[in-house]
């Protein structure tokens, strides 16, 4: 094996790839060769490091120096300074915002300090397109252990004992799901993986598949052994081309190594995995709809029971788990359930991956032990809110979830405490909102999503979500009435009970939770016809404060519709009938004389 004195890890997740990280690799390799360093320094293409906000990211080992915002033009300097002369390029090294010192290892960064990586253990550590690197990190050891030293029942018992709960959102105990499917009679059974990550703002599963695809394949084979299945399907969004490509490579490599296919590890266990691409339907993340879609039909959900563990794909017993759930499995079987249960809270064991997004400095991917508070995630890991704005709420669970208001920022994050405050764990999207976000507008945004994505099979969802959206539209246009709030609550409660599947049953959540914590904001829209956050355009007006206006005329020149008039050196006025509320005048006024 070749020995190198340094390894350069370059993130090639979707975020960094979009910022040209593949070109950085090419240029780095070329420049290393030009300097005769190609046998001393190895460039490795990896999955996501998590700190997407500062991509493209390049990490140099053995030191663990993390370079951020690396531009193609910086590569020459890194090669010549760092690798040739041994001098760290300080201006590119990641540091915490509040610290003048540069971090000498990524472990010292605030972003990583509070994190604990189980599901993401290999993301940003190994080359996802090279099975040898996965194997070198104990890859496929858990599968080997299961096949050669454990009975299927022992595997299920260990997973049950770990108290692992489904990471897709609902939090159903994984071990119980597996044992139902194992008990179901039938010679053919299926293992499915839900990689149809549809919640807007959530990209945990994509990053795992891009950074560590083999961990999911290994776990699916383990599940197959546990329940007695020989065939797996991964249902993945077609919107994730990089993840699809890496899964294809991983499946081919695993087959070549005999880790998928016939007689794995020389036993009589055989297991194969096929990929199925979604085609842009959010409802296909619902388990019954997903299976109907794999079968090649319109992805409409069906009633349960029978549950998939009894009658699933093509009428056979099937288990369906989410990507992140699978990513935990190999570690649980290698290190044992007793180790896993030391992490987390009483009823939520282990860690959870969150996709931090919205109004936060360190947007990206984080994995924390269950029970970490929202404050720790936002302030310590996330680095707070940009531009010194005030934290208003965090939204979890996407269109099925709710929001956590600022006064509950110390809530420990686990399944039960989130449900108790009317939010939900969801798949892991965590969108941070500041004082400039309007909560009625956010509820409307999610309802627009569910109206669009409702499959139309059941009327509570098809018609109900539409009606709720119309009411919200009315309120944001300043035509709301007080009775609308009662109507909304009424509709919400009915749809929750009556809708056929999870999509409809949870569609009212964004409204219910914003009504619970931000009712005052709804009332402002309805009674005072005012949007406190200044988002709802129909409720806005821009006014020039006569005492602050110096009459410079800049606003009048900038106004795209000529709505501002006034004499030079005297106060200007905005003609409200012409104003289109674009806000240009306010942003250009040098004296801050324009208010909305």
């Amino acid at each position: 094996m070749d020995m190198y004195r340094a390894h350069v890890l370059v993130c090639c997740g979707t975020g960094c790839t979009s910022s040209k990280s593949p070109q950085i690799i090419d240029s780095m390799e070329k420049l290393l060769a030009e300097n005769g360093l190609e046998t001393e320094v190895k460039v490795v293409k990896t999955g996501c490091f998590g700190l997407c906000a500062r991509g493209p990211i390049v990490v140099v080992y053995p030191e663990g120096i993390m370079y951020t915002h690396v531009d193609l033009s910086d590569v020459k300097e890194i090669v010549e300074e760092h690798f040739l002369k041994g001098r760290v390029v300080k201006r590119l090294v990641a540091s915490d915002e509040d610290s003048a010192e540069i971090a000498h290892s990524i472990q010292n960064l605030g972003f990583f300090k509070k994190q604990m990586r189980i599901a993401l253990r290999n993301c940003g550590m190994i080359n996802p397109e090279n099975i040898d690197e996965y194997i070198a990190h104990d890859g496929y050891a858990a599968l080997g252990k299961c096949l050669t030293a454990m009975t299927p029942q022992e595997v299920i018992d260990e997973v049950s004992k770990s108290q692992l709960r489904g990471r897709g959102g609902a939090g159903f105990p994984t071990g119980r799901k597996w044992s139902f499917a194992a008990q179901s009679k039938g010679d053919i059974k299926y293992v499915c993986c839900n990689a149809d990550e549809g919640d807007p703002g959530a990209f945990m599963d994509r990053s795992i598949l891009e950074g560590d695809p083999h961990s999911v394949l290994e776990a699916m084979a383990i599940a197959g052994y546990a329940i007695g299945s020989n065939q797996g399907y991964i249902y993945i969004r077609a919107e994730y081309p990089i993840a699809v490509e890496r899964l294809r490579i991983a499946i081919a490599q695993a087959k070549e190594y005999g880790l998928l296919g016939n007689n794995i590890f020389g036993t009589d266990f055989s297991f194969d995995i096929e990929l199925r691409l979604g085609a842009g339907a959010f409802v296909c993340g619902e388990e019954t709809a997903l299976m109907v879609s794999i079968e090649g039909n319109r992805g409409e959900p069906r009633t349960r029971p029978p549950f998939p563990a009894v009658k699933g794909l093509w009428g056979k017993p099937t288990i369906l788990n989410n990507v992140e759930t699978y990513a935990n499995i190999p570690m649980i079987l290698l290190k044992g359930a007793d180790w896993f249960t030391t992490i987390g809270t009483e009823k939520s064991k282990g860690t959870k991956v969150f996709a931090l997004g919205g109004k936060i400095n360190n947007t990206g991917l984080v994995e924390v032990p269950m029970g970490t508070t929202l404050r720790e995630i936002i302030e310590e890991i996330g680095g707070g809110i940009p531009h010194g704005k005030k934290f208003k709420a965090a939204q979890t669970g996407g269109p099925s979830g709710g929001c956590i208001p600022a006064e509950l920022i110390d809530t420990p994050i686990d399944y039960d405490s989130l449900t108790a405050i009317g939010a939900m764990m969801g798949s892991g999207g965590l969108i941070v909102m500041d004082e400039d976000n309007c909560m009625v507008d956010i509820a409307k945004f999610f309802l627009e999503f569910t109206v669009d994505e409702s499959c139309g099979k059941c009327s509570p969802c098809r018609i109900g979500t539409k009606r709720m959206h119309e009411i919200l539209e009315k309120i944001t246009k300043g035509q709301g009435e007080l009775s609308d709030i009662d109507k909304l609550e009424d509709l919400c409660n009915t749809i929750k009970i009556a809708a056929l599947c999870g999509l409809g049953q949870t569609a009212p959540n964004p409204i219910l939770s914003t009504l619970r914590y931000f009712k005052q904001e709804y009332l402002e829209h309805i009674v005072n016809k005012r949007c406190p956050a200044g988002v709802c355009k129909d409720l806005l007006s821009y006014i020039i404060m006569p005492d602050q206006c110096k009459g410079c005329g800049i606003c009048a020149k900038q106004c795209p519709v000529g709505a501002i008039s006034g004499e030079k050196k005297s106060a200007h006025v905005i003609d409200q009938s012409k104003c289109i509320k674009c806000g240009v005048c306010m942003s250009k006024c040098p004296f801050k004389a324009i208010k909305r």
Binding site: P200, F203, G296, A355, G358, I431
Partner: protein, 162 residues
């Protein structure tokens, strides 16, 4: 589907041969309609009725059922797309960072609505679901190029590159 589009279909023999190869490859695969439609859309750029008819004929799946699938899934289009396909991400992370304004700006510059194509066939515009590049929000894609951390003022310059 309007008469005009049916007349407008001009698939080549070469495209049809590729489609037939895809159909042959998937002959015995269970539940293969969706993968076939994906490949057919790659070949033709969209899925007009003519293409659906060929698929129906060779798979034995009724045309009505195929049309039902095509119209159900957002990624399948019965309309031709532009040479440059613009996608504006309206995922939550992009939305709270102002992707709505960016969409409005593009609509105004190109003078088309979401789902439509400019008359010269150069640009088509779609509002997409979250593409998972939330770290770069707000994001737009033009074919395979991704533009991130945008403001509405950047749009004109980006479109001018095409």
């Amino acid at each position: 589907m309007s008469e005009q589009q049916v007349q407008g279909f001009n698939g080549t023999k070469e495209q049809e041969a590729r489609l037939l190869a895809v159909l042959g490859k998937n002959k015995d695969v269970r539940g293969s309609i969706i993968p076939i439609l994906h490949e057919a859309q790659d070949i033709y750029g969209y899925l007009p009725l003519e293409v659906q008819k060929i698929i129906s004929k060779h798979t034995g799946v009724p045309l009505a059922e195929i049309y039902g699938i095509v119209s159900f899934y957002a990624q399948f289009s019965t309309q031709p797309k532009g040479k440059y396909k613009i996608g504006v991400c309206l995922g939550t992370a992009c939305y709270v960072k102002g992707s709505g304004e960016i969409l409005e700006k593009i609509k105004k510059i190109l003078n088309i609505d979401v789902g439509a194509c400019t008359t010269d066939g150069k640009f088509s515009l779609d509002a997409t679901r979250c593409i998972g590049a939330c770290g770069l929000a707000p994001v737009i894609t033009i074919n395979d190029d991704v533009y991130g951390r945008l403001s509405a003022d950047d749009i004109e310059g980006i479109l001018a590159k095409y």
